[in-house]
Amino acid sequence: MMTALLTNWRNLKRNPYAVWLGFALIGTALVLLPFVTDAALGRSWVRILDHTLLYIMLALGLNIVVGFAGLLDLGYVAFFAVGAYLYALLASPHFGLHLPFWTLLPLGALVACMFGVLLGAPTLRLRGDYLAIVTLGFGEIIRIFLNNLNTPINITNGPQGINMIDPIMLGEFSLSRTHQVLGITFSSVHNYYYLFLLLTLLVIFISIRLENSRIGRAWVAVREDEVAAQAMGINTRNVKLLAFAMGASFGGVSGGLFAGFQGFVSPESFHLMESIMILCMVVLGGMGHIPGVILGAVLLSMLPEALRYIGPLEEALFGRVIVDPADLRMLLFGLAMVLVMLLRPAGLWPSPVRQREFTRHD
């Protein structure tokens, strides 16, 4: 039964019409998703969708560093912070600068990219645990800088963060306003959803192209065995720097979008816990496997939100709140992660290469 289904599935994948039909169906679903969500779960869930898309971009960026190149990075949120603060500083009353979105987007990618190289260059000789510790430090340094760069010259406005950031404008079209198009109402969260979706698809596309490129193969070689990779003629230094730079640029883009969407940034949003969370998305979904990483990002960004219903559920079941829902929420979240890693050590949807490792001795 299972094999029959699998062969059918493989045949389907070979049929170009079926593939296009599949794309069309997924595309339609993605376009309709915010409206369905709005109707079924309410506006707040559309906002959660927006955040999920940002997390997908972040997870795919970290996946390049951790999944493809095998460099454990525990400070990835620093690049998200760099992107967010760059947008905030250049498009807010803080400095009185109001650069357009189309300048800020590539600029955010570029500056984050430079920070990626800044982190990568001194850590080239490190691997595994040591690299993890240095990257962790890097992430904290960036956050502490953001927290303290309000004296002697006020650059980041310190712990108060930067307020009243310009919303993202596509020409005259402000994403933070409600628009009527063809009699359909697009609220702010809807507008952002479509922009984020577009950029997420772009990030997915770039990720796939990178994975199947010469650079992608070089990353695999570096991940599997660095000396052997050198012996293959791979310039491991450049290849590793490129992984840091590419991964960081995704983080920078995501950060810029976050700043424009929220209208407010503060160092609070860029804690170590965020880095860990993004890493969990990558690992839990399936390191180095793009569909797996997307799945991981979707699940881990939505699950904590879904678990907010525990409070009301307890009341409905027992008539009162027995366990503090905030505590229980994180407990269940942790439990879910432990279970997944026990039952599917290679991740929920692992890449064929990683799967091999875990089935080698069976």
């Binding site: 193969r217 065995d225 012996a231 003629g233």
Partner: protein, 236 residues
């Protein structure tokens, strides 16, 4: 002209002088053995020759040009290829993916494909296992894969670091047959071995390395009959 020539090569390894000024040369198409005890500096010498270890002094010339401080990845493009100790195969990649990694510096897809077939013709076992993860191969098969993968970069000078290490006697014979065959095709080989007898029987010339210095250097046959070598390395 010498294909590779090292003069007064010195390598320090964390404060210890592992190689203390050695002279070494390999001619075009030659098979040269570098023998010596554990810790004599054999592997360090190889690593220095391909640029994995920065030399502390001396000169290295390859095809008449100095290659000191040239990075490994550039030397491979010139045909100077190392098969590292412990084989260094990519365990989670398939046999075929490993072979393609060997051709990383090349771009002609057609030629690469033909070369993969050539490696399969040489090692039919690898063809049978082409979709298998390389880590699941036996030690001997992994060594074959490592050599096959090195051939994918079309070497002119192949540096083999202990190819017989940890292999069953039958497999060792097979690997050495392969080494002879590759040498017969005109590829120069520098063979680092602990199995001195087999290495000298296979090679044209040999060097004996003792605690970082070359103490003997002669035709391989002469070394096999040398009283000192017989005593120290052939266990007689």
């Amino acid at each position: 002209m010498n294909l590779l020539e090292a003069r007064g090569l010195k390598v320090s390894y964390g404060g210890i002088n592992a190689v203390k000024g050695i002279d070494l040369e390999i001619h075009e198409g030659e098979l040269v053995a570098l023998i010596g005890a554990n810790g004599a500096g054999k592997s360090t010498t190889l690593r220095a020759l391909v640029g994995l270890e920065p030399p502390a002094g001396g000169a290295i010339h390859y095809q008449g040009h100095s290659i000191i401080r040239q990075p490994t990845h550039q030397l491979i493009r010139k045909g100077l290829v190392l098969v590292p100790e412990g084989r260094g195969i990519f365990g989670r990649l398939t046999v075929e993916e490993n072979l393609h990694m060997g051709a990383y510096c090349r771009s002609n897809a057609k030629e690469i494909k033909a070369d993969v077939q050539r490696v399969y013709a040489r090692f039919s076992l690898l063809q049978e296992r082409c979709r298998q993860a390389a880590g699941t191969l036996s030690g001997g098969e992994q060594q074959m894969l490592a050599i096959g993968r090195a051939l994918m970069s079309r070497p002119r000078l192949l540096l083999l670091d202990e190819p017989s290490m940890g292999l069953a006697p039958l497999m060792v014979q097979k690997i050495f047959e392969t080494i002879r065959a590759i040498s017969a095709e005109g590829v120069a080989i520098l063979l680092v071995e602990q199995n001195a007898k087999l290495a000298l029987e296979t090679s044209h010339r040999g060097y004996v390395l003792e605690s970082g210095l070359i103490t003997l250097h002669d035709e391989a046959r002469a070394l096999l009959n040398n009283q000192k070598v017989r005593h120290a390395y052939l266990g007689e």
